[in-house]
Symmetry: C2
Subunit: 79 residues, 2 copies
């Protein structure tokens, strides 16, 4: 069962990578750009076949390793 964990900086947390991307896009001539935020996505292939338990496992992985919950929030999608 495939699970996607998306990790983003929390609102209010400085995101220098997102700022750099925004500046680079503006430099390339892209207009009408507001805030840009950069996060990461981790695609996990789990042996678990129950969607609820796969979600639970992925949330536990996110809390323990994938996200720094002090400054990042995460969401889990079971595909």
């Amino acid at each position: 069962m495939k699970v996607l964990v998306t990790v983003m900086p929390k609102a209010g947390v400085l995101d220098p990578q997102g700022k750099a991307i925004g500046h680079a896009l503006a430099g390339l001539g892209f207009g009408g750009l507001g805030e840009v935020r950069a996060g990461k996505v981790i695609e996990l292939e789990l042996a678990e076949t129950d969607p609820a338990r796969a979600r639970q496992a992925a949330e536990e992985m996110a809390r323990r390793l994938l996200a720094n919950t002090v400054i990042e929030s995460f969401r889990v999608e079971v595909l």
Copy 2:
């Protein structure tokens, strides 16, 4: 209009970050883990209000800056 661009390594491209995450998760005792792949997600706030044009702009940004299309694929979601 908010747009999410998700960039992942293409199938068959070595993904050392994903491998490292997989090893770390196994080391923490998580079992039943198959392939782990790591990518990035960029959240863009665009002034554009037409969903089709917002998607087009984001795809152009992905091709020109956000993704290295030789080794990465991307997908765009208009929220």
